[in-house]
Symmetry: D2
Subunit: 291 residues, 4 copies
């Protein structure tokens, strides 16, 4: 992000929530997946595969999120990029230096928007929901804003591409931006120019996580002309992504001017709206002229 | 659903969107994954693994969704359960008999709420977003409502359990209901009493999709006492789920009274709010009394 | 095998060795993969995933094999089909009725040859090796006989095909018969006419177990004309194979005359030798005539 | 091998056969798995996942093997280690410098025995079988020798351990050496002291390839005391093994005196025989003394 190599991020909520622990200075310990979870439960220890930490880490991170929401006086629907940006700024203010080991904080510092395709699905979403239930707040994530902002960013790209770690809902949320343009807004774009996926899923199960860039061509998500250059690396991201980034950072393209997209969201959505209106008008006039 | 064996559903948006094709009477064809997607793209054919259909199916399903939104006069944030219910009723009205081959329609008929943890991530979400951008609508999905409704349903269960097909965001969205109760609302519940997952993911990648019921015990998502009875079947759902349902339907538990949860959402959320307020008050008084 | 639907079998040694336990009337118990193997080791319990049995089952099965070898007076190299056939007859004689629950015994009864591509790799192979080391026996498995017998059987087939459970060395050992014919013996055959594989391996790892029938076409292992009809089912054999056999047995092709190939091995190899000599002579005369 | 870090190798025959192409100076080309194999077949091109080469490479490698067998005047059963050693020496003699890019040649140079658990299963095995069928040769691989040699090498180790790439028959062939000692020869050894596996297989399918070091403890294959230090890395060997070797070679243990085991096989087997006889005598005397 500091090198301008990351324009924007789409993440699960869980990745961002557990990132907060680092910003808040909690320690997560490397353990083993071969432990007795009933004992862990008795002792109030939470396990994520081979990572262990006390349940209090959850409770205190939750408290921080709820207090941040109250403090921020948020009381209307906003996009996840907006929310994560404000959250990141708050972290930086309260925990100086935390941008060094928190993705959320560093993204705010670098002007990189972070989207979540499943805003209710994580402890972040759970604590926003608390606020609505308990405090009758009108603050919520507006998924429409997320869809349109991502679509607007993609439309603005001279060339588009993605590096996908895993798959799941974030994979589709990025890839659907191209169909949103042609299928919903009537704006042809031509598909992604680059496609790199690191995954352990497989094509044969038929799901979107393991779906190939070739299948994406049929949807207009990937430019048919670049298909031979698309890459799917079948590997655990924790192995393959460090190798990939080391290579990317060390190459002659290892530094770019930052795009600061977090500050250009409104402007880009306004452009999308203008183009969509124009496409709509054109479509209607064409339909009209055939009668 | 007709037999009362399904209380509620959490699905990706894509499953529901593509279900609409059936309700709208479009034909999806069984092809092969071994085709040239550049040719498909040229000819306007969309591929999902081995399923093929013309791109017009997308365009016309999208039109239906947009027209439904306009027709329904929706202009405020609602839950996905509410939205899918209204959608299902509209389908039944306009396409009589479609409940026989559409999950969305049949769920509406049977009073089964359908939630989506990633409301912006699908062509349904794309067309809702269109409505906001182009028509300045105030209709949106409120993820908070989804979080609280699912949490309220789970709290109301005397016994809780799930059948998970695959994994992904829907898996976590269901399982997080128990932590929402104890971690966020201070209401102890004890974890799920039943846990069945059919998946092709694996535990060793460390993600939530492949995480075991044992790991879920450490989070309070699964009752530690039932761990030996939890099941993970490593198989494609298209093979294992029909075997499972045939067994379940043929057993002496193959029929139950329907719960009609789609109509009880407000009432259950009100109960959740009451309990959460009580837990909050108790917590505060305890903290107070220690000082 | 009784219905004549199985002409011959290629198996790992382990499958056959553990099959003997059933013939010898030992009990293997269904346990769980989630046990403490150090405790099992202390208590002399052997585990194969979720199957548990005392180590004495190994020791007594080993004794039986060694005694059988002595008793059978084997003292020269033979094929695995020959060895397993004699073993099966001995089992039937000593444990009447065991053909009902032992593949090795039943194959002998039905005249179905069983080959092992890795003859030293199993407790069967270990006990044959014991015999050579301790008793200076000249009995051994001659892998050449296995290669040539399988090749001769395949050459004799009017149509060839296989059902592959898993993959591994047995998969290649069957499929290499066609290249042995054209590549080594100069006898064109045209590849398999049927190809069914049930596997949990994946193509992307690049190994033979997960290799597609399409890749096999390039090797002349599968007839290019039948490629669209080949099938790879990505599933655990313990789930998919019973479904498959139930279907096959229930179909109108559910019964065929048995081929009794175990008794035709010498004759078929003699035919192979004749054809190979003829092909060799032809090749040499062609090379000669060009000079 | 040059650094003395590899004592001996157990490989599939295919790995060794295709290694010969490099020694014989043939070119294998990197292609793509997304090609039309029917076209490849028409044009006489062989595919191994994304590796392509003309069928003549097979035919000429086969010729070399057959000529080597004739030239070497082999006419009796030998172990695969013996055979591969002779083959490697022949390659070095005829193709000077080939040890740099051929494992078989380099192993011969470094005195590293190479075993194959499935000696008939590869084009090497096919061409040995040709020799028996066409030339009435008495040369064959004796699997008993392989079993006993590997067992003797393992018995001689002060500490034992393995690095497993993939799984399959070679994995079991190494691991069975410990049970061969205690189960068949009555010589307690205590299991492996080190266990490292790089694999893409999974434990849940229940097979040996994906079986854990923990399961191996129950068999006496792995020392129970070292279980927490055993490692299974779930990754493609082509990614993980270079990282692993780079680490191993760069460490302070990156160089050891070579063991030259290929020249000590007879001596080690003689020791095994002596120990096995002693154990047998002791067992018999104990049984005798209890009567």
């Amino acid at each position: 992000m500091e090198r301008g190599l990351v324009d924007f991020i789409i993440s699960t909520g869980a990745n961002l929530y557990h990132d907060l622990h680092y910003a808040l200075n909690f320690t997560l310990r490397r353990g083993s997946p071969f432990v007795d979870d009933r004992e862990l439960y008795e002792e109030g220890v939470i396990r994520i595969y081979d990572v262990l930490f006390p349940a209090t880490v959850l409770l205190e991170t939750d408290s921080y999120i709820r207090e941040f929401i109250v403090r921020s006086k948020l009381n209307e629907p906003i996009s996840t990029a907006d929310f994560h940006y404000r959250l990141g700024l708050d972290l930086i203010e309260r925990y100086p230096g935390c941008a060094e080991y928190s993705v959320v904080a560093n993204a705010a510092k670098c002007g990189v928007p972070i989207y979540t395709s499943s805003p209710g699905d994580s402890s972040i979403g759970m604590n926003i929901a608390y606020h609505e239930l308990m405090n009758d707040s009108r603050f919520m994530i507006d998924p429409n804003k997320d869809v349109n902002e991502v679509c607007a960013i993609v439309m603005a790209g001279q060339q588009n591409g993605c590096v996908i770690l895993g798959g799941g809902s974030p994979k589709n949320f990025y890839l659907q931006a191209q169909p949103t343009l042609w299928e919903v807004y009537g704006i042809p774009k031509g598909g992604n120019d680059y496609f790199i996926q690191i995954t352990t899923d497989q094509v044969v199960w038929g799901g979107l996580s393991g779906a190939t860039p070739s299948e994406a061509v049929s949807w207009g998500k990937v430019n048919p002309g670049v298909l031979p250059d698309t890459v799917v690396a079948y590997a655990d991201s924790t192995i393959a992504f460090p190798l990939f980034t080391e290579y990317a950072v060390g190459s002659k393209y290892g530094q770019r001017e930052r795009k600061n997209l977090v500050h250009k969201r409104d402007e880009l959505v306004a452009t999308l709206k203008r183009e969509a209106k124009a496409a709509d008008a054109k479509r209607k006039s064409e339909v009209g002229s055939t009668h």
